[in-house]
Symmetry: C2
Subunit: 343 residues, 2 copies
């Protein structure tokens, strides 16, 4: 994605070559492949991907693919003067190796440019994220049909993951299924906890062609009491209200502040940020932190996920993946009114 | 694991603190936990793990656990003089951040010590690897019972993975199931390819308490012809022969050379190394490369996995996870004589 824009940047900055190693997701960003061990060299005019002989050679448009054979290092230009590296990904040892390989080169950090390119999505990226969200919605709708047959948090998570894979999705992250007070830990590790009366919090997402979806829904097993219904509807109102606030010119931090204000006296039970950007990584730019003074702009994809967590009692989180393309588009479309399941 | 030995090393090297970040598997090595975002500080006398408030606080022996709250940075000793970092894991940007946080510190690379500690396994580590191998064997034996009901490579891989999870295992790596000529690419990506007459190569492994198993078996669907049986038995003989060569004082590279010699005129079809060390990572030290002049020593765990690959025809690989504890112990115990499945 945005390979031409990146090459223009390299030319402008007089960077002869940008080098990526396999642990850097930006290698996938520019090539759409995920090889097992590889190097990607991007110069203003040429792109070469080196892969091991244990992998199959992919056919890629505008990218030549070579094997990391005995002679590959000999073909590199030892006189390269200026090399760009992603300092947010390359290890100190990795940089040292490259310094030996290119003794005459000056190394510069290109991480900011990469973040900037990835922060707004292309049409193709949006299509992948939309498809990932569709698969996520499908898994949730199937779960609601079958949840009465399931007995534990783990079985619920396994079911969702199976349905995601059924539609050729991968997992964007390990599924969270948290029953009752387990949901108070936002990153609860799905356990053998039996399903019982109460809120069941689900946080999960498919990955499609390397792009992530992220959705949380909290459903109720059994019959909720008045307080439980009130808390759910309060949070749902806040989530919908925050989505309405998404406009060009607003800052994400202002959305976070708005949601906290709407929660009123319950805001101290909202112990995390309102959301995060997502794309190839399930957490990437744009960020909701105060330091991010940039305004919302077209092509950004992010979550809106307020939550309230009452220690020893229950936790509720409602989360959608949102695309802003001038207007706000909710990409995860699963029902948000409280779903009650007879048990 | 080996926390005391590591602390002694820090004391000897006058390193005040070694710092690990969450992407470094060594954090799990010393704490046995895998938090979502965290820092681990090890000094000669104290160990502190910092985790986010989104995670549950684990109870750990000899390790204090703190939250990454607003004030955590204030509690750090700004006058720390010498800090150890794993240059093989920390990013250039990560090191820069730490340099700002500890302006008076000298930073040194501790990666070699970490590799040295992890290269020989403790009794506890061996127990985890043995259990991972048991789960791997279980999944394979279940597959052989049920394979007649399965139709594609993907279904075979899914079945193995389901059985691993059934026994509370995780996946050491994505399962490879490669039918016929697909197996010629050692890192073949499991596909919707239908099962049919021919060799089916399986390369998979469970992970138990963060420790990996790795096993390959190649079975035959239908009735093999004389050449296919001969090729299989040749490779099996080489694999068993190489295992017999494992002795204290030998080098792994000598084993690799031995296997190649045994393959005779077929050695050019053996296109990868004879194996790799494994533990927390599925690929770690000890290495089979020629540069590794160290001799096999007790506590080392590694694979022995010769393979032959005939382009356009078929590939065979037979792999066991081996522990050397003075004697050779084969930890993966699944049958290696050619298994033929009627189809």
């Amino acid at each position: 994605m945005k390979l031409k824009a990146f090459q223009s940047y390299l030319k402008k900055e007089k960077i002869n070559s940008a080098i990526f190693t396999e642990k850097d997701i930006n290698l996938t960003y520019f090539t759409q492949v995920k090889p097992s061990f590889s190097y990607l060299f991007i110069s203003p005019k040429k792109v070469t991907l080196y892969i091991t002989q244990l992998d199959k050679k992919p056919r890629l448009k505008d990218i030549s693919v070579e094997f990391l054979d005995k002679n590959w290092k000999k073909k590199l230009n030892k006189n390269t003067k200026k090399i760009g590296l992603n300092y947010a990904s390359i290890t100190v040892a990795g940089q040292k190796k490259l310094k030996k390989l290119f003794p005459k080169a000056k190394f510069v950090d290109i991480s900011k440019k990469l973040v900037e390119l990835r922060e707004t999505k292309t049409v193709n990226e949006c299509k992948c994220i939309m498809k990932a969200c569709q698969i996520t919605d499908y898994a949730f709708s199937e779960l609601i049909k079958k949840i009465r047959n399931l007995k534990t948090e783990q079985e619920v998570a396994d079911f969702l993951e199976k349905k995601i894979k059924e539609k050729n999705g991968e997992l964007a992250f390990p599924t969270i299924a948290a029953m009752g007070k387990n949901a108070v830990i936002p990153h609860h590790q799905t356990s053998q906890q039996k399903l019982k009366r109460g809120f069941l919090l689900l946080d999960f997402g498919a990955k499609y062609k390397n792009y992530c979806a992220d959705m949380s829904r909290t459903i109720f097993l059994g019959t909720p009491n008045k307080n439980e219904i009130e808390m759910y509807n309060l949070l749902l109102g806040v989530q919908k209200g925050a989505i309405k606030e998404v406009k060009a010119g607003k800052k994400l931090f202002e959305l976070d502040k708005f949601a906290r204000k709407q929660l009123g006296k319950y805001s101290s039970y909202f112990i995390h940020s309102l959301g995060h950007g997502l794309g190839l990584d399930v957490h990437e730019m744009p960020s909701y932190i105060k330091d991010n003074t940039q305004k919302i702009r077209p092509g950004q994809v992010f979550t809106i996920e307020p939550g309230i967590y009452f220690p020893g009692k229950f936790g509720i989180r409602i989360e959608d993946t949102i695309l802003f393309d001038g207007k706000v588009k909710i990409l995860t479309k699963s029902r948000k009114e409280l779903i009650k399941v007879n048990i």
